[in-house]
Amino acid sequence: MDAETKRHLMIVFFGMIAALIPRYFPMLFFTTRKVPAWFNEWMNYMPVALFTSLIAKDLFVDHSYHVTLGNYNMYLAALIVVIVAYYTRSMFLSVIVGLLSVWGFALLLAAM
């Protein structure tokens, strides 16, 4: 095995460990212990806060970690996705319409 393959295997192995620790131990901890009611109420807010957090990063932070307000095609597409999601309740339609509109608006804005 050459040095490069070894290095890549090490990255995969340590990457697996690094991803497994935060995935496994908190879940193990909270499934095997009795948790108070307030904790579950607090956890009810977690998904909406987390998903919004991921969206906000995609829309307003660029790859060099600067705030950006220039992804106009994404903002327009995001608005359309929310409308489609609200009225159709379909994840499939939301994703397809989202992809088509982010691409369409990018072309449109580039042509303007």
């Binding site: 890549h8 607090w42 977690m46 909406v48 957090s53």
Partner: protein
Amino acid sequence: MNEHTNEPHWLKAFKATLPLMISYLPIGIAAGILLKTGGFAVWMIVLVSLFVFSGGAQFLIASAIITGTPVFTITLLLFFLELRYALLGTSLSKYLRNETKPFIFRFAFSMNDENYAVNYLKFSTDKNWTAKDALLVEYFSLLSWTVGNIIGGFLGTKITIDLPIVHFALTAMFLYMVTMQLKRRILFVPVIISVVVSVLSVVLLKSTLGLIVGTLVAATAGYFLERYLKANYRDSAMLKRIKNPRAREMEQISEAEN
């Protein structure tokens, strides 16, 4: 949703995962192309897809091997990138209480943002949804992700992909998830707080650790606001539900099922 009770588990899980599987293909292809460009062999791409199974982590690995980052630094970066999974596992734990330790291990091993989103929605809306269905959702998404990565690995540098546009498939999925979760007016408060605090903390920390800060601050604010309103203003407009245009239709379906 027209679910028949005699539907086999794998089909039920497959239907729930299908939109995610379709979104994962192009993004998986993009990840495979980047890893191949960084020098990963196709079999190594398969390993990393199966054992790390995280879009963000694989994009980070690809850029780190191109720039020759030391393995130790990569591991540390990945650990901080993946720390948010602690929140996912914690919030799903109430649905997995009766499962064995090996099951929890398998479940945690293949969990990520997207299949968590699918499963959380199913657990909170479908009372027949089981932990085994949820694990199947993870495996279907893992399959699609790995196939995408393999295709990308073989394509290598032959085609270029507009990554921000392809990545929007996931953004759209999370937008859908938030729209589905917004059942009460009060939930707009954590949404707004999460946008502001997450963006600021991701930029200030120059790391996705900011996502954890934003999520925790927003969820905590929502929780305390609800407690405060319930204690002091029980009739507050903030505590009202949001109209769902399909609610009556869905109620009729669930009545028909019972």
